[in-house]
């Protein structure tokens, strides 16, 4: 279980995340939503120890993430940030194989190869696994990076805006895959999303942030309603039900 306790991060003197306490429920997709500058990515970075918190702590199985051995932590929690520019030239397969590093230290076993194959299969990359990343489109590249964290085979997968650069088809595809990871393999996914409709349709729980503070934390059902969303986004967002899914219609010109 991941517990975030009273987490605060200052950039200079300005708090970007302020006293946030959340528990990530295992076996769910939890979406972090909120306006730009709400501190979603910063929060995710602190959970995955990319950033050090100024106060507060993050616990993984009751142990502070700072106290975990880095190599062991990498077998439990993976993180993918939004900007993925590489200085080295890698093929898709080489990149995905790096996901096995915490287990094999660069010397892949037959079992590692199996995980790599599976991850590539999962992300529909089989026909381009020997292509170099710089030959791919933004969306294909993004899928390759996600395949890497899938190959890492961690209980917790943290994704920072993975749908950036992706068209609708691939966005839906990725969300469905994440759903499958949770429902079939029992993984826990934490994801920063901009489009609240993806959060509404695919996630179990939603954590809403605004100006660095925790606004709401609850099931998708509790968060996706016009009153709560008005508080978060300062705009009126009518909601329509479609086949049991709540769709937020925020393209409203007369508000």
């Amino acid at each position: 279980m991941i517990e975030i306790k009273g987490l605060t991060k200052l950039f200079g003197k300005k708090p970007v995340v302020e006293d946030v306490t959340v528990t990530i429920e295992p076996g769910t997709i939890t979406s972090f939503i909120g306006p730009n500058g709400a501190g979603k990515s910063t929060l995710l970075s602190m959970v995955s120890r990319l950033l050090e918190a100024d106060t507060g702590e993050v616990l993984l199985d009751q142990n502070n993430v700072r106290k975990w051995k880095s190599s062991e932590f990498a077998k439990r929690v993976s993180i993918l940030k939004q900007a993925n520019y590489l200085n080295v030239r890698l093929t898709v397969r080489e990149l995905v194989a790096f996901g096995r590093y915490p287990y094999s230290r660069g010397r892949l076993t037959a079992e590692d190869e199996k995980f790599v194959d599976q991850a590539i299969e999962y992300m529909n990359l089989a026909d381009m696994e020997d292509k170099y990343l710089d030959e791919l489109s933004g969306g294909q590249k993004q899928r390759a990076f996600i395949a890497m964290v899938i190959a890492q085979d961690t209980d917790y997968i943290l994704l920072d805006e993975p749908l950036n650069n992706l068209d609708m088809k691939h966005s839906v595809q990725i969300m469905k895959i994440l759903r499958k990871l949770v429902d079939e393999l029992g993984k826990t996914v934490v994801i920063v999303l901009h489009d609240i409709n993806f959060a509404s349709v695919y996630s179990d729980r939603i954590v809403a942030l605004k100006n660095g503070r925790l606004m709401k934390n609850g099931t998708t059902h509790e968060i996706i309603n016009s009153d709560v969303l008005r508080e978060i986004y300062d705009m009126d967002i009518p909601i329509q039900e479609q086949n049991g899914c709540r769709i937020c219609v925020y393209f409203n010109s007369h508000t």
Binding site: L50, S70, S71, N84, Y85, F98, R107
Partner: protein
């Protein structure tokens, strides 16, 4: 061609260069000339590997292909140390005459300088590469002017003696220092071998490396120390060869298609040996010592450096 074939080819060329240098046109006493030549070749091999190795790992952790420890001002620092010694202690002082003392002082000063510089430049907040390049240039110019200022004041006879130290030369390498250098290099390599797989992961960038379980910030500092010890040792042994690291590392990136550091370090080391041994052969037997190798390398390297800068700025723009 596969990478392994290319490496075998490079090894073959390197061996040919070494044999040529060792046996070509040996006149008079073979017993006299051959050991001397072998001493020089050993110095070239050691220096070549140290420069190639330190440049490749340095460029990995700084995520660039233009900056090298030498370009960042380490070579200028070497000149400062030697000039200061001559200025304050004089050519006949123990700091010059005791080769161990001189060698140790030069290494120590360069490593300390490098670590202070890196602490400021490569902290978590990232500076754009052109900023770093500019800083390196300014520091180089500043130290260079400082050196010139001191040199003007030095006694002309002492200045001549100093000057011979400021150019890379393999002709009067001290055997004792060579053995110490081999020792230092051996330890550095042993450590380098242990972290080889981590280097590959670190080339994916800080965030991906941390995700994969690397203690990134700690590793960066350790590798910077490793890299500056290597470059400082080679500079203290034979003098500064500023652009060699830049040339051999980039040639290896272009020639060998892989992300693996084990291969690039090996490739860059072989190219480096070829450049030094083959270059010295040309200088001694073709140009008949009318020029020096460091002049040639800095000339070619300087042109290559400008080419890389232009290429990089086109890629960025």
């Amino acid at each position: 061609m596969r990478n392994s074939t290319k490496l075998i080819l490079l090894t073959a060329i390197a061996i040919v260069c070494i044999l040529l240098y060792g046996f070509y046109d040996i006149k008079g006493g073979f017993d006299y000339a051959f050991p001397k030549r072998m001493l020089r070749v050993t110095a070239m091999i050691i220096t070549g590997i140290a420069i190639a190795y330190s440049t490749v790992v340095f460029q990995t952790i700084t995520h660039n292909r233009i900056l090298t420890p030498s370009v960042m001002g380490l070579d200028s620092m070497y000149q400062v140390v030697q000039t200061l010694i001559y200025f304050f202690a004089g050519a006949m002082s123990v700091w010059v005459l005791n080769k161990y003392l001189n060698f140790g002082a030069a290494i120590l000063a360069m490593v300390v300088f490098a670590l202070i510089l890196y602490r400021f430049l490569f902290r978590a907040d990232k500076h754009p590469i052109y900023f770093l390049l500019l800083i390196g240039m300014i520091i180089g110019t500043l130290l260079g002017s400082f050196v010139t200022f001191l040199q003007v004041l030095i006694d002309p006879v002492e200045y001549l003696s100093l000057q011979s130290r400021l150019f890379a030369t393999f002709t009067n390498v001290k055997a004792e220092l060579l053995f110490i250098s081999i020792g230092i290099l051996f330890l550095a390599f042993l450590y380098g071998y242990l972290i080889m797989d981590k280097l590959d992961v670190m080339s994916l960038g800080r965030e991906n490396a941390i995700n994969l379980g690397i203690n990134y910030d700690g590793m960066v500092m350790r590798i910077l120390i490793l890299s500056s010890v290597l470059i400082a040792t080679s500079t203290a042994l034979v003098g500064p060869i500023t652009f060699l690291g830049l040339i051999v590392a980039n040639l290896s990136y272009q020639y060998l298609v892989t992300y693996k550091h084990s291969i690039h370090i090996l490739g860059a080391s072989l190219i480096s040996i070829i450049a030094l041994v083959g270059g010295n052969f040309l200088v001694e037997h073709i140009f008949e010592l009318r020029t020096t190798l460091s002049v040639i390398i800095n000339f070619i390297g300087g042109i290559y450096f400008i080419y890389l800068l232009l290429k990089e700025s086109r890629a960025a723009g």
